[in-house]
Amino acid sequence: MTAVGEKLPAQDFPITRADLVRYAGASGDFNPIHWNERFATSVGLPNVIAHGMFTMASAIRVVTDWTGDPGAVLEYGVRFTRPVVVPDPEGAVLRVEGSVREVREDGTLDIDLTASVDGKTVLAKARVVVRSSPTP
C-alpha cells in the first residue's frame, strides 16, 4: 500500500553528447544549441545544453520503472529552471528523486520529482499523476 511520503528509488542518468544527437534525431528537434558547441557558445551558452524534453523523458523513468506501466501516467508536467550543460567528452549526470505527495481516494497518486545536476535543480514543479489501478 502506497503511503504519502514514500520515496521512489532514485536514479542517476549519465548524459553524453551522443545522447543528445540521438534524441535530436528521434524527436525532430535539431536546434544546434543541443549539438553544436560553436553555435551554443555564440548565443551566450556555456556549452551545448540538453534538450529540456530529453531531461523530461529521462526523469519520468523514476516513476515508470517504479510502476512498471508507463501507460499509468495520466499527467506529467515540469518547469525548466536551469539548462543541463553537456560538455564533450565529460557529459553530465542527471540525478532524479521522487516521492508520493498525495494518495487520492480512488488510488491515484500525485508524485513530486526533483531533478538536479551537480546538486543544482534543473526541473521545478515536476509533478506526475499516476493511475494506480490496473489497466482497464
Binding site: M53, G77, V78, F80
Partner: protein, 149 residues
C-alpha cells in the same frame, strides 16, 4: 515580439495525420535510453491490456513540436526564434499513444504574458485520433528572451 492579448484563443489548422508506428516508438524509447518492454514488445504491452506497444509519456512532443511551428512562424507574433527557450511542458493523457494510432494535432494559443522583460507564450495542443477520440493535451510554454539589459 508584441504580446497582443487578442491572440489568445487563436487556433491553427489541424496537422496532417501522423501514423504512429512501432519502430518510431522504439526509436524514441531508445533515444531516451528506456528499456521498458511495453515500448518494445507487443506481447508485453498486451499483457498490460494495450492493443500494441505504447509510447513513452513524452512521445507526443514529436507531433506537437512540429505542429507548434505554426505558432513560432506566425507573423503576427513576430517571434525571434534565436531567443526562444523552453520554459514549461505538461502532458495530460486520456490514454497512452499506441502503435497503430493515427493522430492529428490542433494547436491554439492558451496564454500570453510578459514577465521580467521576457514574453511567455503558452500553447495548447489537442491530440486526437482521426476518428475524433481525445488522446492527450500538451501545454508548452516558450520564453522569448527580451533584449539584454
Amino acid at each position: 515580439m508584441s504580446v497582443s492579448p487578442s491572440l489568445i484563443g487563436r487556433t491553427y489548422p489541424p496537422s496532417a495525420p501522423y501514423e504512429v508506428g512501432r519502430e518510431k516508438i522504439r526509436e524514441f524509447a531508445d533515444a531516451a535510453n528506456d528499456p521498458n518492454p511495453v515500448y518494445w514488445d507487443p506481447n508485453a504491452a498486451r499483457t498490460l491490456g494495450y492493443p500494441d506497444v505504447i509510447a513513452p509519456p513524452t512521445f507526443a512532443i514529436v507531433l506537437t513540436l512540429q505542429a507548434g511551428r505554426q505558432v513560432i512562424n506566425d507573423p503576427e507574433l513576430d517571434i525571434d526564434y534565436s531567443r526562444v527557450v523552453h520554459g514549461e511542458q505538461r502532458f495530460v493523457h486520456a490514454r497512452p499513444i499506441h502503435a497503430g494510432d493515427t493522430l492529428q494535432v490542433v494547436v491554439s494559443i492558451d496564454e500570453l504574458r510578459t514577465a521580467a522583460g521576457n514574453d511567455l507564450i503558452t500553447t495548447r495542443s489537442d491530440v486526437r485520433t482521426v476518428d475524433g477520440e481525445d488522446v492527450l493535451t500538451a501545454f508548452s510554454t516558450i520564453v522569448v528572451r527580451g533584449p539584454e539589459r
